[in-house]
């Protein structure tokens, strides 16, 4: 990194330019607008852009053709490239160290799926089961959504499609059902248990308490918040509250097979500091990918 004191004039002579607040001003505004249009939360946009701007100003970059192969890139383009790098780093930083998105434990690993209504928890439970089967594991699914019409049937159908057992006890509270399921897993040689819970609002105190009860009784090794890629500004508030109450191991963003930009991922990551674990890329059970930051970063930046 060349010192910030590198003069602009000297830089020009060597085919280089120092990035200044002035020559990247348009790019900064464009990035702000683009991130807002991508549904990144407004305070996160401000923090992120200010931080990248501070990093960028004073950098000396190549902006002139060096006669052979270097393309002429404007200060604006350099700033955008720095944004992409920073965005990737923010989205995926610590996860590179974690080789495995799921924390496993012997003899039984537990995964708890939580989130707002309709985000894709039940479908993703099926997808995780499919992923675990490929990893030579023996999942057991728990239909702990006792409210939604045919929620238990829905999970049972997915279990049948995969040849994976689904545990459900009619008339039993979710926290007890999940605890019984762990016992059942141990007794029947299943090594991963996934709790599918009902969708709920973060402001529904009674239902949030139910999640705390499940966590209390079963101590899950993984708690994943399932978030819809099309979520808007409010995603941050939901994620913060779920994280405050539980806390979360990470989150899974679904429905990325559409054209939603997915900016909520940046907001949630920035505010909770929890990692993105998986991406849902379709309606069928094979459409689950382990999270990689590059694709999502360029999608959010637009």
């Amino acid at each position: 990194i060349v010192s910030k004191g590198f003069s602009a004039a000297k830089a020009k002579l060597t085919g280089k330019t120092e990035l200044t607040a002035e020559n990247i001003e348009d790019a900064v505004r464009d990035v702000r607008v683009s991130l807002l249009e991508a549904d990144v939360e407004i305070n996160v946009v401000k923090t992120f852009v200010d931080r990248v701007k501070d990093k960028a100003i004073g950098k000396v970059v190549a902006t002139e053709v060096d006669g052979k192969k270097k393309l002429k890139a404007s200060p604006e383009e350099h700033f955008i490239a720095i944004c992409q790098e920073e965005l990737e780093a923010l989205l995926g930083a610590q996860d590179a160290k974690e080789a495995q998105p799921i924390t496993f434990r012997r003899p039984v690993t537990t995964i708890m799926m939580v989130g707002l209504q309709g985000t894709g928890k039940t479908t993703t439970t099926g997808k995780l089961a499919s992923y675990l089967l490929k990893d030579k594991r023996k999942p057991l699914l728990v239909a702990a959504d006792i409210y939604r019409p045919a929620a238990v049937d829905q999970l049972k159908v997915l279990g049948e499609q995969l040849g994976v057992p689904v545990f459900h006890e009619p008339g039993v509270k979710p926290e007890d059902m999940c605890a019984h399921a762990l016992r059942k897993a141990r007794d029947s040689g299943r090594d991963v248990v996934i709790f599918d819970t009902a969708g709920r609002l973060a402001i529904d105190d009674e239902l949030m308490h139910e999640l705390e009860q499940i966590k209390e009784k079963s101590k899950p090794d993984n708690i994943f918040l399932v978030v819809d890629a099309m979520s808007g500004q409010d995603a941050v508030r939901t994620a913060a509250e779920f994280n405050r109450r539980l806390p979360l191991s990470g989150f899974i963003m679904t429905k990325l097979d559409g054209d939603a930009r997915g900016g909520a991922a940046l907001s949630i990551r920035e505010v909770t500091k929890k990692p993105i674990k998986f991406l849902g890329m379709g309606e069928t059970l094979d459409k689950l990918e382990v999270f990689r930051p590059e694709g999502l970063a360029s999608r959010i930046l637009g």
Partner: protein
């Protein structure tokens, strides 16, 4: 963002924050500020209360214009309402609520299980039909949705029902083959019942950000929407993206979902909605 020299910087920032965090989006936020700037005097633009009330009024008028007044069930029998939208937004649950509402008004309702794809979709709808005391029609799993809805409409005529509520599978608007499937459903119902579908309602999740505009645009272009239902407004999201939808497409907002039970449905009211944005 919006550069208005007449509005003091901190007030502008405050107002922008309210609009943007409510998911109105950059474009709509700028448009609203632009229009009130023309309506208000220099002095008024510096007063927080006046500025906010003016923007609220502008939001109300954009929504009212698209709203075109109170909605009434089409005067045909049976009236066919097709529910469409992306995955997980609340289509099936909204049909359950509408079935309950119309049944309570003394109408005979038939719900059609047009989602032949998703696990237990037909079972879910059947439970809602039972709760509402509505007739129910489903085909074999995996059957062509257009055929199922066609048969449901034939049954509706035989039974003499007043309203058919046709459920469809959730689908992302970017999937051409799935959008074509919906176009086929629309064509086919028109063959069995004159003028059907009489209503095509797009269901939009209240927590959705700017993608809702893209959803509305594509579904409108493919099918011609006659109304929008905004769900999950019992949460903390404001659903402001419908202001952008109203301004751009002029499709009326018809209902709002405020919970998961049969009673949790309200008629959309532009004034109430605009007020809640700033409340």
């Amino acid at each position: 963002l919006f550069v208005a020299k007449e509005i003091p910087a901190d007030l502008l920032q405050q107002v922008e924050a309210i609009l943007l965090t409510s998911d109105l989006g950059v474009k709509t936020t700028n448009r609203l500020l632009e229009s009130v700037k023309d309506q208000l005097s220099k002095k008024e633009l510096r007063d927080q209360q006046t500025l906010i009330r003016a923007i609220e009024g502008e939001v109300r008028s954009v929504l009212a214009q698209a709203h075109q007044g109170e909605w009434h069930l089409p005067e045909v029998k049976p009236a066919v309402i097709l529910m469409v939208g992306v995955n997980g937004v609340g289509k099936t649950t909204t049909i359950g609520k509408l079935a309950a509402k119309f049944s309570a008004e003394g109408k005979k309702v038939l719900v059609a299980a047009g989602d032949t794809f998703r696990a237990a979709a037909a079972d879910q709808l059947k439970i809602w039909a039972e709760r509402a005391g509505a007739e129910y029609y489903a085909g074999a799993a995996g059957k062509d949705p257009a055929s199922v809805i066609f048969e449901a409409c034939e049954k509706a005529k035989v039974l003499g029902v007043d309203i058919v509520l046709a459920d469809t599978a959730g689908r992302l608007h970017t999937k051409t083959n799935l959008m074509d499937e919906l176009k086929k459903v629309k064509r086919v119902v028109g063959k069995v019942i004159e003028g059907a579908p009489h209503e095509v309602f797009l269901v939009v999740d209240g927590t959705t950000g700017q993608n809702a505009v893209s959803q509305a645009r594509e579904f409108h272009e493919a099918l011609g929407l006659t109304g929008i239902v905004l769900t999950k407004l019992d949460g903390t999201a404001k659903g402001g993206v419908i202001v952008a939808i109203a301004a751009e497409l002029n499709v009326p907002m018809r209902f709002v979902g405020v919970g998961e039970t049969a009673d949790d449905l309200r008629r959309f009211d532009p004034k109430t909605f605009a007020k809640a944005l700033f409340g």
